[in-house]
């Protein structure tokens, strides 16, 4: 494994993807709109009821809102990954890249890094903004700040990166069959659905988004990521790409 090669590829891919307006917009708009919008919901909910939200309910509400950023991080990487993998496949630019001394693993890691880092940073920014705004709101209304609590740290530190990684790996596997970036993005974007289901289940209290629940979720995500990485590694083989990727 050659870190310099990985970074060279990652920088090039990230720069290329970020030149596209659609990618830039998705990376900026989702975190900002989610942070501001969800904060407004918290504020409005308190005002409408005429009383302050009980702390235990507010705490659960804030964590479940913070989970929205996990949903976001599971779909944001598809925009970059689609260009990085399917885009290169369509443009036939993978062969020259594979003809360099770089190993398959380094190419995969470089491309995965390019698709992983910007969305995770953008999601962290959005989640951080949400925490700052809601803390200010809660403090202003005389309540006790809840975030970041242990669950929030687990969301930020584990769930967001692991779901983003899952999205990148699914994109690699989708790119084997996809013939254009849009369909690759749409197929990989379906990944947000299971996370949305987790959110709904937490709302109806089938599962709990407490530290134990988040650790369980993170463990499941990590296990899936490992399996998908093995599959992606097998799919992203020089020979497979040149002879089977169509």
């Amino acid at each position: 494994m050659n870190g310099t090669d990985i970074l060279t590829i990652a920088r090039k891919d990230a720069r290329t993807a970020l030149r596209r307006r659609g990618v830039r917009l998705s990376l900026v708009l989702f975190p900002v709109i989610a942070a501001v919008g969800l904060s407004l919901v918290v504020r409005y909910a308190g005002t409408r009821s005429g009383t302050t939200i009980p702390p235990e309910i507010l705490s659960r509400l804030l964590v479940s809102f913070l989970f929205f950023f996990v949903i976001g991080s599971s779909s944001l990487p598809t925009a970059i990954a689609a260009y990085s993998f399917v885009g290169e496949k369509v443009e036939r630019s993978l062969e020259p890249l594979l003809a360099t001394p770089v190993t398959d693993l380094d190419v995969l890691l470089g491309k995965a890094l390019a698709a992983f880092v910007p969305p995770v940073v953008a999601t962290w920014f959005g989640a951080g903004l949400f925490i700052v705004i809601t803390d200010r709101e809660v403090s202003r209304s005389g309540g006790t700040t809840h975030l970041p609590d242990a669950t929030a740290w687990l969301i930020l530190g584990l769930a967001i990166p692991l779901s983003a990684l899952l999205s990148v790996l699914v994109s690699v596997l989708v790119s084997v069959r996809a013939t254009d970036t849009r369909s690759a993005q749409q197929a990989a974007g379906l990944l947000a659905l299971p996370f949305a289901a987790v959110y709904v289940m937490s709302e109806i209290q089938v599962i709990s988004l407490d530290p134990a629940g988040m650790l369980t979720l993170a463990g499941v995500l990590a296990a899936i990521d490992v399996v998908l990485f093995v599959l992606a590694r097998a799919a992203f083989d020089r020979e497979e790409i040149l002879t089977r990727w169509r």
């Binding site: 630019s93 020259p96 190993t103 020089r238």
Partner: protein, 314 residues
Amino acid sequence: MEGLTRRFGETVAVDGLTVEIGDGEVFGLLGPNGAGKTTTIRMLAGLIGVTSGRATVCGVDVTDRSAGPRLRGLVGVLPEEVGLYGDLSAAQTLDFFGRLQHLRPGVRAERIDELLNRLDLWDRRDTPAASLSKGLKQRLALARALVHDPPVVLLDEPTANLDPEVARTVREFLVDLRTRGHTVVINTHRLEEAERICDRVGILRTRLLRVGAPTDLRASMTGGRVTIGLEQVTDPVLEAAQRLCSGATGNGRGHLPHGAALVSGDRSITATLPVGTAVADLVTAVVLAGGRVTTVSQGESLEDVYLQIVEERS
């Protein structure tokens, strides 16, 4: 290459390819679509594996997958599709690939400047690849293959779909590569191109059907046959030609009977030259005998030879 074979499932793409390509040689691989030319290039570049047989490039065994990165540092590959990054400029493209070839910054900058100049891309160095014309894209792709100054260059259809002027520029550059000592393997459909720039060509149709210098291949199919058009065929001209040609003199008109070395027509003589006799020797002998030469045609073209060989084996 020795018995180099590649199968894809039940399909044999390349079967028992055996040929040795020397240092500084320009070797052309000719063959119809699906003949295994691209597969051969990919095997030599370490891009795909080998089913059986062996091949070495600059002493590196292409069947040794662990040697892949080293092998890919020794070869420069121009794929059939240029596959450039549309957003990167010409200079950025070369810089990116120079980095991946692990060139030191100073060397990289020098190579980039040199290639941009040699391939007339200097004025377009900051232009995104997507905005370049087809010919300029092809030149940039060539520069990309050469950024690390590889001793072996593998080119898959380097002039395909280019207009004649651009194709000529690329051909001139390939000749320049030979003079600089690079070993070049070219896949091409353009037989006149192979004839002009290749030291030897191999005709491939899954198996290697024939290998040789283009002139030798032609001679092997036509038996060194030359037709000289004359204003008038005179006895002294015939005698001079006979002296140069071995074997019996035929007396037919137009076609060379089997085994005959010389046939005369009203305004032409067709001779089968013995080994070691050049066409120029025959023409000189004819002119010295008072013949007024109007045309000289040397047997069949490489294209005829190619088609004949490929059809024979199909």
